[in-house]
């Protein structure tokens, strides 16, 4: 019977490790679940066979000197790398990696006066996860939460208050109140996509730094405006493309840049499936105190209230742009990183899509896009199990969304490979906080994020137009294609403007 139990346990633990590697809260939860199911068995013993080794840590040191052009944009990434080395959570195996205060010369403690204060806007599932990582940081203090939904505001406030053991966290549906508070240093923005640029720009004008979830823009023009705004105000802005600070993804990028799969030929990104919706049923506008629909809609074109519209906002062009902008920026950023083309992008896009016929969705159901860089390297965009595969003359490397790496030749992996799930974002958060203090570019700074998002927008435009489009990364314009160029910008519903 013991063997039976052990077999089940190992399978469960392996599954857990693969899917939630290193995320402390889940690890604790899982430990509890194991304890209930298998009383008397210790979690640490269970995980021992799967814990990381010194070889894994060493693997992160596969460095390649970046080009002069990229040094500025990437320098903070290197600093973060170094600080991770000096930190206690070396392999990222146990929760958010936190730079010890002693390393910063603060004698191991954070004075209240040195704490950065923040507020957060948007309290859906994604941001509740983000928020945990921010709350873990000893040198941060969350002062307020904001959402259009009353129940989400209450959940967010409780999360913060429980963390600090008080009832001080303010809750509001008006982001203007947060912008007006001089005691707030930065905003954590994780709203619906249509709000990301708008709120980032407003925050910058109010002198606040920003951590903003992806996709940060719905058009190329919107993204460029954000980049210029952050430059104008000297704002520190980090895009929530946390794979930039993930050791497994870094390993892949640097392996390719070091030429270990030979000359890069093809990058295939698998963005996962996309679900449809249904015909909206109109309902009376809810009480704004319960759900402020007008504010939720924000800069998107007006449409009457229907619960389906709210639940399926990712399925409509007015409020989002489907699977390509949802997962694309993460993987396109890795593609650019590995291909050493972070400040440019492919020159042409061509593809086919199938479309939902559910009566509501206006985004692609399935996608097949091929983009081509100036050097002939192909970028393929597909559905399929999430991950990225990079093929070269002499081998290939693949990373799943959960950070599991496979490669040929196997010598690439001989030194050990970091295996860090996308969910672990402590390092990305830490990088952002460090940059607020030093005013340096973040790991996912506006320019890098803009390039990755531009690829998503261009891919979408080629699918919407149903034909090949050619792109000029320097001018950020399509070549001789008036239809496509008109799609680079949308007006916003007043009073919202950027």
């Amino acid at each position: 019977m013991t063997a039976l139990i052990l077999s089940q346990r190992e399978r469960l633990v392996k599954q857990f490790e693969r899917t939630h590697a290193g995320w402390k809260p889940l690890r604790s939860f899982f430990s509890l679940a194991i304890d209930i199911r298998f009383p008397g068995l210790k979690m640490d013993e269970l995980l021992k066979p799967f814990s990381r080794t010194a070889e894994d840590d060493d693997a992160r040191c596969l460095m390649k000197e970046p080009t002069e052009q990229l040094r500025l944009a990437r320098r903070s990434s290197r600093r973060h790398f170094l600080r991770t080395l000096t930190g206690t959570a070396l392999a990222g195996a146990a929760g958010p990696s936190i730079l010890p205060a002693a390393v910063l010369g603060r004698g191991g403690a954070t004075a209240p006066s040195e704490r950065l204060a923040f507020a957060t806007i948007g309290l859906g599932n994604r941001n509740l996860s983000n928020l945990q990582y921010f709350l873990e940081q000893p040198d941060l203090r969350c002062l307020a939460v904001c959402d259009c939904f009353a129940n989400r505001r209450a959940t967010g406030k409780k999360l913060v208050d429980d963390k600090y053991g008080n009832h001080d966290c303010a809750a509001t549906r008006f982001h203007e109140e947060l912008l007006a508070r001089p005691d707030i240093d930065f905003l954590l923005i994780a709203t619906g996509d249509r709000w990301h640029t708008q709120l980032s720009v407003l925050a910058a004008r109010a002198g606040k730094d920003v951590y903003c979830e992806k996709p940060f823009s719905l058009t190329v023009g919107e993204g460029r405006t954000l980049v210029e705004t952050m430059q104008r105000y000297g704002t520190v802005w980090q895009c929530g493309m946390q794979r930039r600070s993930n050791d497994a993804y870094r390993f892949v990028a640097e392996t390719v840049r070091a030429g270990m799969i030979g000359r890069l030929r093809t990058i295939t990104t698998f963005l996962g499936p996309w679900r449809g919706s249904r015909v909206p049923v109109l309902e009376p506008m809810p009480d704004p105190e319960v759900f402020d629909y007008d504010r939720w809609l924000g800069p998107a074109p007006w449409a009457p209230y229907a619960p389906v519209r709210v639940a399926s906002w990712r399925n409509h062009w007015n409020t989002s742009a489907g699977v390509i902008v949802d997962m694309g920026p993460h993987y396109f950023d890795l593609a650019q990183w590995a291909h050493d083309s972070e400040l440019t992008g492919p020159l042409e896009y061509e593809g086919t899509a199938t479309w939902f016929d559910d009566g509501f969705s206006t985004v692609p159901k399935t996608i097949e896009v091929e983009a081509r860089y100036a050097d002939g390297v192909r970028l393929l965009v597909r559905n399929g199990d999430k991950g990225v595969r990079l093929d070269g003359d002499e081998g290939w490397i693949h990373i799943s969304d959960f950070g599991i790496i496979t490669a040929k030749p196997e010598s690439i992996l001989r030194r050990g490979r970091p295996e860090v799930s996308w969910q672990q974002m402590g390092g990305h958060v830490r990088n952002f906080i460090d940059c607020i203090r030093t005013r340096r570019p973040t790991a996912s700074n506006p320019e890098l994020a803009q390039r990755a998002h531009t690829m998503a927008h261009c891919a979408n435009i080629c699918l919407r137009l149903g034909r090949k489009v050619r792109w000029n990364p320097q001018t950020e314009q399509f070549v001789s294609d008036d239809d496509a160029n008109r799609m680079l910008f949308r007006t916003r519903r007043a009073p919202w403007n950027i």
Partner: protein, 673 residues
Amino acid sequence: MKHFPIFLLVLGIATQALLAAAPPVTNQDVERIIAAAAKFDEGQPNAPLLALEQLVNQTHGNTRLRARLEKQLAAMLGTSASLAAKQFACRQLWLIGTDSSVPTLAKLLANQDTHVAEAACFALSKHPAPMVDKVLREALTNTHGKALLAVINLIAERRDARSVPSLAKLCHSPDVEAASAATAALGKIASPEAIKTLETLRADAANHARLQAAQQLAARGKAGEADKLYRQLADASLPFVIRRGALVGRIRLGGPDALPLVLATLDGAETALKPAAIACVSSLKAGNATAELAGKLPRLPADLQAMLIEALVDRNDPQVRPVLVQATGHADGTVRLAALKGLGTVGDASAVPLLIGHLATDEAAAWSLRALKAGGADQAILAGLNSTQGAMRAKLIGILVDRRCPGLATEIFMDLANPDEAVAHAAWRAFGVVGTPADVPALTKKLMAVTNDGTRATAESAVAQLAGASPEPGRSEPVCAALASAHDPTVRTSLLRVLGRIADDQALAAVAGAGQTDPDAVVRVLASWPNARAWEPLMDFVKNSSNRTHQILAFNGCVRLLQNEPSMERYARMAGFAIRPEEVRVLLSALAEVPKPEALQMAAGYLENAAVRNEAALAAIAIAKGLRGGNRKLVTTTMQRILALVNTADLRQQAQQLLNSPPSKQRAPTPKK
């Protein structure tokens, strides 16, 4: 006449192409699809809209049809079609609109329904014709509320300088939102008139607009005018965010004032501006910037020193090296860290001894030694390796491995037998990475000489890794040969373990052949074999060994191997040797994961055995669940037997659930391999 065949060929190809292409869009199609879209309203399926969008795409390149389509879309805007239909029509005009639809859209700008006016703005947003600017300017006088805001914002996006007089008036409007939008628009337009107007305004929005105007001017190459604006915006009476923007913008203009401005900011009293100035250091073009800024270092607090050092490193200027060397001796850890890290980026080989000196105390030194790209760095680190011992030597070996230092294997070959365990361990690990299959014979000899248990494990890994990378057959030949000549039991055990990891046929034969001389080691190695090929030799232990421990190890090993590659024939053979309850339990635990009717029958057979009844029931339930509704009769019989024989409530409940569950039409899945 002689070209007639070619003509026919071309005609044929053209006909084929026409037949293969989608049917051409006709005027009737346009009218039908637009009529359907005009009837659309929210709450209805959006198929008519999708058809319209597809139609628009199909008209690409067909000017005549597009003109007709545009005309029809514009006509729809004048009907009583729903807001949703009109919004969608505007979205199509956004793509294909020409001057012909502008008058219709102009009328919509003044529509009482703000949402309609906004839709018209959407349609006009990227229309390149100057006529649109004229229409929008006119709309400034006859729109109100949110429609007016939408018009102002669109004028700003279009950078229409001729609208400045109208916008200037709106800046004084009692409508605060309109005034603020007009002010922001002037900043985006950034014409001389716009800037002149902004200088007369005192509202906070004007400061932001002037900052934006300065950025626009800089982007247009008008550095002098931008600098003038930035200077105005540096006034101490203005908000911090404006002054910081002005400072950063002015430094980035890159003129002769940039360096003095950074230096002055570092000398100034406003601490909060200093990091922003430092962050711009890498963009400074002045040749003396590094030296001038380095001169400021001693007068700055430690945190700013660290920031400045990082910024100087980003300049990639060799002049910074002496500054970094000096800062590695700083009392503050943050400064030291920045300096050591900086040496890894801009240092040369001469920095190696210094970095090695810090290796024991500063992890950043290790990072820099790995990162150093300068010529001669490998040689300098190898030279340093020769003068270090103990933990530092081990660490340097690890660093050289990460650098893939040429010649490292030769340098550290003797370290494989280093009496210092850490060094030997590092050397073996290094060989696992930088070694080649050709090294296997020599390494096998070295492995035979290892006396430390901890080192031996690493050594075995290295040999197994390299042997495993060599081509088959013969990859285990050197180790088999060593085994044949080895007499020391510890050495033989070690070699057997290596063979167990190489795990090719030759290795299996060698290990199985040693069963008589080294039964303790052999049974353990076979039990850990990575594939089921070791099952038969392991089963020999179960059948023939007189040593009870070996029998148990072999039995458990056989079960483990079967879990990877299930075989009911082998399970049946094992059942004959599963005598004691412990053995039966192990067997049942494996069977539980085999969703086959034969496995269920075998597990059910143990229900009569009171000592293992519960485990048999648990296994049977697991198998039955794995069958997913298949083999209904067998499952029913077995579950009924469980209910009759087993008293445990949880098991009974599960058995009852399986009995109650409806039969599935699915076929039982094949077991995982």
